[in-house]
């Protein structure tokens, strides 16, 4: 999942960033610690589930719940870890990576693009 922070709702996102990129090197001590304490990664797995639900034909309620949860969790993470203007807008997109074509090359395609949502409206306590 990628996100972009926009200054206006109609702005075109140019600077997409991967949400919570995985570490370059996962050290053994971190691996062991994560056996007992792994909340952020488990939330990432939930985000993957939400993304899969959005891409599966389900109900409008499920789609609304999945999109809302994805946006809320990204906004909350940004609120806690990065400085941004509460009047800015958040947009997310889902990239699905798969093998395709006759040579089974690994390709990436944008499978979902959300609307722009006011950040202040997404940050809940």
């Amino acid at each position: 999942m990628d996100y972009a922070v926009l200054s206006a709702p109609k702005s075109v996102a140019e600077h997409w960033q991967e949400f919570r990129p995985r570490p370059a090197v996962l050290k053994p001590a971190t691996t062991l610690r994560r056996m007992l304490w792994n909340p952020q990664w488990n939330e990432n797995l939930f985000l993957v589930s939400l993304a899969e639900r959005l891409m599966t034909v389900t109900t409008a309620e499920t789609d609304a719940h999945s999109e809302r949860e994805l946006l809320l969790r990204v906004a909350r993470h940004l609120d806690r870890h990065e400085a941004f203007d509460a009047g800015s807008y958040l947009q997310i997109r889902l990239r699905f990576v798969s093998r395709s074509g006759p040579d089974h090359a690994v390709t990436s395609q944008i499978a979902y693009l959300s609307g722009a949502h006011l950040m202040a409206g997404l940050i809940t306590r």
């Binding site: 995985r22 994560r34 909340p39 093998r99 690994v106």
Partner: protein
């Protein structure tokens, strides 16, 4: 292993696993609404753990605590619109439901059936996973496991992705997993082979936890191990016992 011992062990292990899961939802980074769902789960799990350790709780037995955990779980399922952590959550609910039935049913035969169901489901979890994999040509060729490392969302670090460059090792690992999962029901034939099978399975879950960050799978799957150990002994005892009269 007696039914009481196995049930008590499962109950204590599940409560400990639920405590670990609940604590992950109680950090400040989590929304208040979500935290409020996991406070009761934590408290109920602590009480259930205490009860399984033999601490007497006046007026609160494991049957009531397990029922309360089921009700709490229904609210959690609704909040996340399904499982939060995929198979780990499904297994959590299965263990909880089987224990709740065992605690609350009065007929010993029904208690055995409810608890034995958990053991059977554990056995099937490996068998069916192996069957699904071996039917898939990509798993048989090693491509599926290579793709898991190459571009799936699961590798917990970029360094782990580099395993995709070792197709021979992954081909062997894929076949080892498939053969083990398909052969797992054979370990049920004796207690020593079952213990060995469960030890290998725990290592498999441990590897998944390290490589893919699936720590909850490790803890909740081993919670079901006492049920299959009890079931094996129960089935084998019934098989060798001479008929009455």
């Amino acid at each position: 292993m007696t039914l009481d011992t196995a049930v008590n062990l499962t109950s204590g292990m599940m409560a400990a696993a639920f405590i670990q899961q609940s604590l992950e939802h109680l950090r400040p980074a989590v929304r208040l609404q979500e935290r409020l769902l996991f406070v009761p789960r934590l408290l109920l799990s602590v009480l259930l753990l205490a009860a399984s350790l033999g601490i007497h709780l006046p007026g609160i037995g494991p049957s009531l605590l397990a029922l309360a955990l089921v009700v709490n779980h229904l609210f959690i399922l609704s909040f996340f619109n399904g499982p939060y952590n995929g198979g780990a959550d499904r297994m959590s609910l299965l263990v909880l439901l089987c224990l709740t039935c065992t605690f609350n049913l009065s007929n010993p035969a029904w208690q055995e059936l409810a608890f034995g169901y958990l053991g059977i489901q554990l056995l099937l979890s490996y068998l069916i996973a192996g069957w699904v994999k071996i039917k898939n040509p990509d798993w048989r060729s090693g491509k599926a496991l290579r793709d898991v490392f190459l571009f799936s969302a699961y590798p917990a670090g970029e360094n782990i992705r580099k395993w995709a460059d070792r197709p021979r090792i992954l081909f062997g690992a894929g076949w080892a997993v498939m053969i083990f999962e398909l052969a797992f029901p054979l370990t049920f034939l004796s207690a020593p082979t079952l213990i060995a099978g469960l030890a290998i399975a725990a290592l498999f879950h441990g590897a998944n936890a390290c490589l893919f960050g699936l720590n909850r799978f490790f803890w909740i799957w081993i919670c079901a191990y006492p049920s299959i150990l009890w079931l094996q002994e129960r089935v084998m005892t019934a098989a060798v016992r001479p008929p009455l009269g």
